[in-house]
């Protein structure tokens, strides 16, 4: 198959997804969608309530997904959640802090916190709230550990591209007896987080955070589009298996 043909197929999938997202966004206004319950998000809302009541802080770790790599999508999902969480905790005494392992991501987290602070009642923005803690996986984790330990954190959200170093962050959060929700697009990190975090999110649940935290109609529409595309992939795989089977038995 030539690169040009692959490009055409890719364009078709993206175009179909874009159209479906538009349609579902329009339809959502008529009938709100119902999603399966993910307990982690229910507990996150409770943890946010406690952050506001206690006067403690929320820590969002965005991982190290560089913006010019495919891993940036998980970082973008993390930034969307950071924005929503900053809005939800805006009634509290302390703004959330965001740590990241990529410089451009740290700048975006500062911008996100700044915009969210303008929307809050206090309107106070702390430039030190969005931080770069290290540029290598372990220096990033080591730099984020003091934030979890020393800054009156009562809820941690690890959302983005992490490797196995996420276990160190999860362990620190566990020692402080704080709520921890974690998700990564990396398979090894997902396995590690499953073992070490109270509320791990597996696979595409990372990208569902915006929809479950009411970040906007396009977020709920994207979940429905993902479901449709998943069924399409299942059909394609089954048809492929059937064709291979028929070829093997000599019918095709």
């Amino acid at each position: 198959m030539t690169d040009f043909l692959l490009g055409l197929i890719g364009f078709g999938v993206i175009f179909l997804s874009a159209v479906l997202m538009g349609v579902f966004t329009a339809l959502r206004r008529k009938s709100p969608p119902a999603f399966r319950e993910i307990p982690a998000f229910t507990r996150l809302r409770q943890a946010i309530g406690r952050v506001v009541e206690d006067g403690t802080r929320l820590h969002v770790s965005l991982g190290r997904g560089a913006l010019i790599t495919p891993q940036s999508a998980s970082a973008m999902a993390g930034l969307t959640l950071l924005r929503r969480l900053a809005e939800l905790t805006s009634a509290g005494d302390q703004p959330p802090i965001a740590t990241s392992g990529d410089a451009a991501l740290a700048i975006l987290s500062q911008d996100t916190l700044k915009t969210a602070s303008h929307a809050s009642a206090q309107g106070v923005y702390d430039p030190a709230a969005g931080r770069l803690t290290g540029l290598t996986p372990f220096s990033y984790a080591a730099g984020a550990l003091p934030a979890i330990r020393d800054e009156k954190i009562s809820a941690n959200v690890l959302m983005g591209n992490f490797g196995v170093e996420a276990a160190l962050l999860a362990e620190a959060a566990e020692r402080e007896n704080t709520f921890t929700l974690a998700a990564s697009d990396n398979l090894a990190a997902q396995a590690v987080l499953y073992a070490s975090v109270q509320e791990p999110l597996i696979g595409e649940e990372l990208y569902a955070a915006g929809a479950y935290m009411d970040a906007g109609p396009l977020h709920t529409a994207s979940l429905r589009v993902q479901d449709i595309l998943r069924w399409l992939i299942i059909v394609v795989i089954l048809v492929g298996v059937l064709i291979q089977f028929l070829r093997a038995v000599g019918i095709l």
């Binding site: 030539t2 690169d3 040009f4 490009g7 364009f11 993206i14 997804s17 874009a18 997202m21 560089a66 913006l67 999508a73 973008m76 999902a77 930034l79 969307t80 924005r83 410089a103 451009a104 740290a106 700048i107 911008d111 700044k114 929307a119 430039p127 030190a128 969005g130 770069l132 803690t133 540029l135 372990f138 984790a141 080591a142 003091p146 020393d150 276990a167 160190l168 362990e171 697009d185 997902q190 396995a191 590690v192 499953y194 073992a195 070490s196 109270q198 597996i202 696979g203 595409e204 990372l206 990208y207 569902a208 970040a215 396009l218 977020h219 994207s222 993902q226 595309l229 998943r230 992939i233």
Partner: protein, 220 residues
């Protein structure tokens, strides 16, 4: 939305579309690079240069955060002071090494080989203990079928990968490990990766629609 927000959104969407088009149609039907492909390469090169500047901004941010800790005598200010001092020393060594001072150059590489590398390796070793402890805690936290399957699978992969003392490689265990890695774990991993791929696609589309704007302005 303010004018600045509209401007940045338009630029982000336009360049996002150009890069996407270049990625999809970067090669002509004849197999030669198209104009879109060349444009995509140019934009990505500019993005790499900007990312380099972002590192500089990020390091200044790191310096500001830790200087603030030292000034306010917060908990861990001592470690912040060590970080700031080593940052300046390494920066200076890096600058001098650039101008071909042989002694400084070996000192500069020594900082990485003798300090940073061993520390990161130690953290990796610490991770092993952390994970063993987390596995024990997993059963205490959620004793269910999935957790048990998870731990048994991890155990079987471990014993099938490492050679046994006095026995060396045990064929039954290494075959079992191969089967688990290739079939149940492989199938599960592909399912998860397909989900991640679909999530990546819709996240990218939301940014192209201007719904998610991490570069400022309200999300919608």
């Amino acid at each position: 939305m303010k004018l600045k927000g509209i401007f940045s959104t338009v630029i982000a969407i336009a360049f996002g579309l150009l890069v996407l088009a270049g990625y999809l149609f970067g090669v002509n039907a004849s197999g030669t690079p198209s104009l879109l492909g060349q444009l995509e390469a140019f934009i990505l090169n500019v993005a790499v240069i900007l990312a380099g500047f972002a590192v500089l901004v990020g390091i200044i941010n790191l310096l500001i955060v830790h200087s603030g800790k030292i000034r306010q005598k917060q908990k861990g200010a001592f470690y912040s002071a060590i970080l700031v001092i080593t940052l300046f020393v390494t920066f200076l060594l890096g600058l001098l090494a650039h101008y071909n001072f042989p002694v400084v150059r070996s000192l500069f590489s020594g900082v990485f080989l003798s300090i940073q590398l061993p520390i990161e390796t130690s953290l990796m070793a610490l991770l092993v203990v952390t994970l063993i402890y987390a596995s024990i805690r997993l059963l205490r936290r959620q004793l269910n079928l999935l957790s048990i399957i998870f731990l048994i699978t991890a155990f079987l992969i471990l014993v099938g990968t490492a050679p046994w003392p006095f026995l060396g490689d045990v064929p039954i265990l290494s075959n079992l490990r191969g089967w688990i890695a290739q079939f149940p774990a492989g199938a599960g991993a592909r399912g998860i990766l397909l989900g991640v791929g679909l999530g990546t696609l819709t996240t990218g589309l939301r940014i192209l629609f201007g719904s998610d704007r991490p570069y400022g302005g309200r999300n919608g």
